[in-house]
Each structure stands twice: as structure tokens, then as C-alpha cells.
Amino acid sequence: MRRSARELEAVGSAVKALPKAPTGIAGLDEITLGGLPRGRPTLICGAAGCGKTLFGLEFLLRGASQFDEPGVFMAFEETGEELAQNVRSLGFDLDKLVAENKIAVDHVHVERSEIEETGEYDLEGLFLRLGLAIDTVGAKRVVLDTIETLFGGFSDAALLRSELRRLFRWLKDRGVTAVITGERGEGALTRQGLEEYVSDCVILLDNRVREQITTRRLRIVKYRGSSHGTNEYPFLIDEQGISVLPVTSLALNHAASEERIATGVPQLDTMLGGEGYYRGSSILVSGTAGTGKTSLAAHFAHATCQRGERCLYLAFEESQAQLARNMRTIGLDLAPWLKKGLLRFEAARPALYGLEMHLARTHKLVEEFEPRVVIIDPISNFTGGGSERDAETMLLRLVDFLKARQITALFTNLTSGGDAWESTDVGVSSVIDTWILLRDTELGGERNRALYVLKSRGMKHSNQIREFIITPEGIRLEEVYVGPEGVLTGSMRAAQEAREKAAATVRAQEAERKQRELARRRAALEAQIAALRAEFESSEAEAAQVIAQDRAREQTIDAERAAAAKRRGADAPVANRKRK
């Protein structure tokens, strides 16, 4: 699928030579690589009620209001007033555009019972009317809805065919981009085989019901001179008109943020390289029933709001009130965020709409609310709204959509339990950046929760299995005990921890005792040292005294000797030195 998207891109640049008129219809210009063939007629066909008229109208209205290309709407079925009413609900003011001379509406009323055919005729009147309308507004676009009605109004089918052929040629000569709608016929695209005349571009609209859920699809049957997406693309009609949803986005060029955001559970942040998730990444929390997926999601929502960012929470299993109540019991009060407008809940049963409607609804909510974080809880229920394959492509598109807007997305997924831990029920693992697995462990008559990070792109993450405990104060992650008997959780872990704690206490007491002994011995030693020092000091003082007395005595003797020598006239100093 992605390959074909690349192909599209490659070829798209090569065929820019063919001028195209953008429709402005969300998604369609992507598929047609620029719009409808400019200056040529395009056939839009499909069964009743599949949106042909709206398609034509939107092409005109957007042309007039967005691309400055005035248009003519020639209605064979509805009157101008009816048309105006139809588009008013889509936020377009047809009357205003008509008043501004940007759009001309001509209602062609042909009623067979009012007409008598009396010989040869042609449809020159139609040409004149169309020509007048085109000239009045300077039209670049023309919609004929539904020209086949003429076959009901006139009996000469051969003449009509040749006149239609002439009309389409005339439209080409006028250089207007035309949209011709046609009702789908038996075994052919249109009842009157219009596809034979309008062969430049044919778009088929389809409205299918499967398992009571309607899905509209669009397919480009033919686009002469241009490549185009060949898939069937789901589309929807809502208050914003038609939006076609490309099956995958054409490019994988979303930016990658370096910013990290907290998960709401500090220990989980630690496990994810100490900083939490990457901003703009997609996170999958999968696990069996009752493993705490919603609680983990709610923590993330809480953390998001704490940062002052908006969080959109799409709940598919619980109502807002129920979820808020349940989260209060684990210490998460989400009410203030709801009141502040930072948190928005959208709860609906997945089976309420088809997948495309869900996707479109999410698109719309995201555009409106501009959240930084989107939580979808859970995605597994989507398979109820379509086939698994459908759900997969839908999620793929959703992830692409959110990534392109740098919105962090957290999905929860209910796995069926048992065997396939590491495969998602909805095969989205390839688009998931961080995958957290919650699981049950049954051991020692208990069922405990465990959490581990299966993968986390672009960060060093813990390889540990942690015990996941939901307390009245929120989620806590405990180290699990890994021993010879395997992983211990719950009370067995607690018992093991208690044993370890007891042993540690004993060890601590022993160490303390040794410490005290050492201190005591040190004190004794120091006392001894002090006594010895005192003893030494006293003898030292004594010795000093003796030395001082000796020195005094010697001085006295020296003085006496000097006096005697003086009396004898001897050379005292020398004698004195000799004596020494």
C-alpha cells in the first residue's frame, strides 16, 4: 500500500504537464494529484443517494470561494432553492455567491407529459442557456446534474445522444472544467452510457452497507493522461461537506521531536530512559482484561493536563462519569481538568458509526480541540465496526494523521489473552513507537499485574518486568523478585522481601555491635595513651629541673674560677675553654 503511494508521488511529479483544477474537496486532490482535468468534462457516477449532486456542488462552491473560479450549476432535478437549502447545512451560502455573481444556477425543467414532439428539433436552447450562464459569471467550472434526466423528457434517444456528444465537445471548446453526474445503470457506469462521451475522467461513488454500517467509497475509474490513486477511498459527508480519506498518507515525512513528556507514572518514566515518551510518538498499551490499561492511560491524561496541555480522551467502553469515578478511586481526580477545559472526553460505542466516520470524527475533534495528546481507549473495539483489515488501515491513517500534527497518541488494546502476547489484535505494531505490555502472572494462588516495555523506538529503555500495582494513590511500579523459582510477584514477592529485610536487619545489628566494640577499644587505648603521656610529661619536667640546677651550679663555679684567675692574673678565658 505504501509502495503504491510512493509510486503515486513519483509519477505525480512527472505528469504535472496536464493542467488540473483543484476541487478543494478534502483528500480528493491528493488522490487525483491535483484535481480534475482542467478544461475537460469529468463524469461522476453512482447510485441514488451516493452524493453526486453534493460532489458537483462542492466542486463549484469551493471553486468560486477558494480558487476564484466562478461556476455554473445546471440542475435537471432540483430547483435552485432546493440546492441552496442542501448546501446551507454545509456552511455554504449559495444565495450569496449567486448574488455576488460568482455562481449561476439554472434549473432545467423538462416534463415529458407537458411536451408534445412534432418533428425535428435540437437542444440549442440548452446550449444557449448554458452559454448565457457561463458568460454571466465568467464561469470556469460547469456542473450538469443529472443530464440523463433529459432522456426521460425527450423520446428521441438517438438525437439526445448526438446532442450530448455535441454538448461535451462544446464544453471542451469553451475551456470549462465540467462535472457531469450520472446515475449508475445496470452493468454500466451510467444508464445512458455517458462514459462513452465523457472519457477524460470518470469517478465512481459508492454507498455500501455492511453489517448495518454504511460506508461511502470513491474510486477513480479512469483519468486520461494522468496517474491517480486506484484504490477505493472511503469518504464521508458531514457538516463540512465531502472529505475523502486517502488510505495512507502519501509521505512519511513527519517531524520527529526530541522533546520528552512524562507518562504520569514516575517509575515508568525511569523505565523509558528516565524521561518518558517522545512528543508526537504513538504509544500502545496492550494487555488482557483488567490489567490496568485505562488506569495507565488516565495517568498520562492527568500528566498532560498538569503540564497545561490539552488532552482528548476518546473512550469507547466507558462513559465520562464512569471513568472519572473509577479514576477517583485510584487517586486521580480528573474533574478539575475537565472543568478547566484541558481534558475532553468523547465517549461513544464503536459500533455507532462506521470506521470512516470514527476517523472523520477524530479528525474533526482534533481540528477543533487542538490537543497535544490523544488517547483512544481501546482500539480493539474497532474491529466490531468493520473487518480487521479495515480497522488496521483506519488506525494506520489515524496514526499518520496525528503524527503529522505532532500529537502524542496513546492507544490501549485489549488482547485476547493467553497465547499471543506480543502480537496486537489490530495489527498496528509497525506504526507504534512505544509499546507497553501489561500482563497477568498467576503465582501462589494470586493474580498480579506486571508491566514491561516491549519496545520503545529511539530511547534506551528498561528490559525489566516490573510489578504493576494500582493503589488508592495511583499506579506504582515495584521491582519484581527474580529468584531461583522465577519471577515472584504479589504476596510471594512481599514474603521474599520480608525475609530479605529480616536478614538485612540481623546484618545491620551485627555491624552495629562491631562498631560499638571498636569504639570501646579505641576509647581504652586512648585512655592508656593519655596516662603514659602524663607520666612522661611529669618525668620530663623533673629532668628539666635537674638540668637547670646543674647549669646554675656550673655557672657559679665558673664565676668563682674567673674571680680566682683574675686575682692570679692568669689568662682566664683560655683556661676556661681548655677545661671545657
Binding site: E116, E117, T118, G119, E120, L128
Partner: protein, 107 residues
Amino acid sequence: MTTRSSKAQAGPEVDKWNLRLYTAGQTPKSLAAFRNLKKVCEEHLPGRYSIEVIDLMANPRLARDDQIVAIPTLVRKLPAPLRKIIGDLSDTERTLIGLQLRPHQDR
């Protein structure tokens, strides 16, 4: 309806027939239509009709206002109700039926 039709066969209750022929230029079909119309009127409504030929080439707005698609189109404005007859009026029988100058065979 039956009584009305029998009267119509004899001639309508209104004195004045107001007919409009829409053409687009002087095409052979338009010219033929005018010729044929003139003949029918002279035959069935002598002195009681007026024909207004409108060339939509010169006045295309009227094509929209009067809901004209096929050319030539003959419109019976009066007597009411409004009737539309398309083609060159070469089929006189159908022209008379269309103008309600003769009861409709099918009805």
C-alpha cells in the same frame, strides 16, 4: 374533460390565441416550424391568433425564464393552460393534439 375536448374540437372558448415560437437563428428547422405553424393557425384559428417569434440567439435570457431546452419550441401562452410543443411542427396531427385543437388520441 370530455365536454371540454368536444368544445375544443369546435374551437376554444377564448377568442384570442397567443402563441410563441422560440427559435435560435434562421435555421431550416425554425423556418419550417414557422411555416407549419402559420398553416395550422390559418386552418384552425383564422383571425383568432397571434404568433410571436422569439429568437433566443438575440435574447438567450428568455430561454431560461421560459424553460426552453429544445429548439424550435412552440408555447401556447393563451388559452391556459400553458402548452409546449417541440419540433418543426411537420407532424400536423401531433401539432393539433399538442395545441389541444384535437382530442388526444391516447387519452
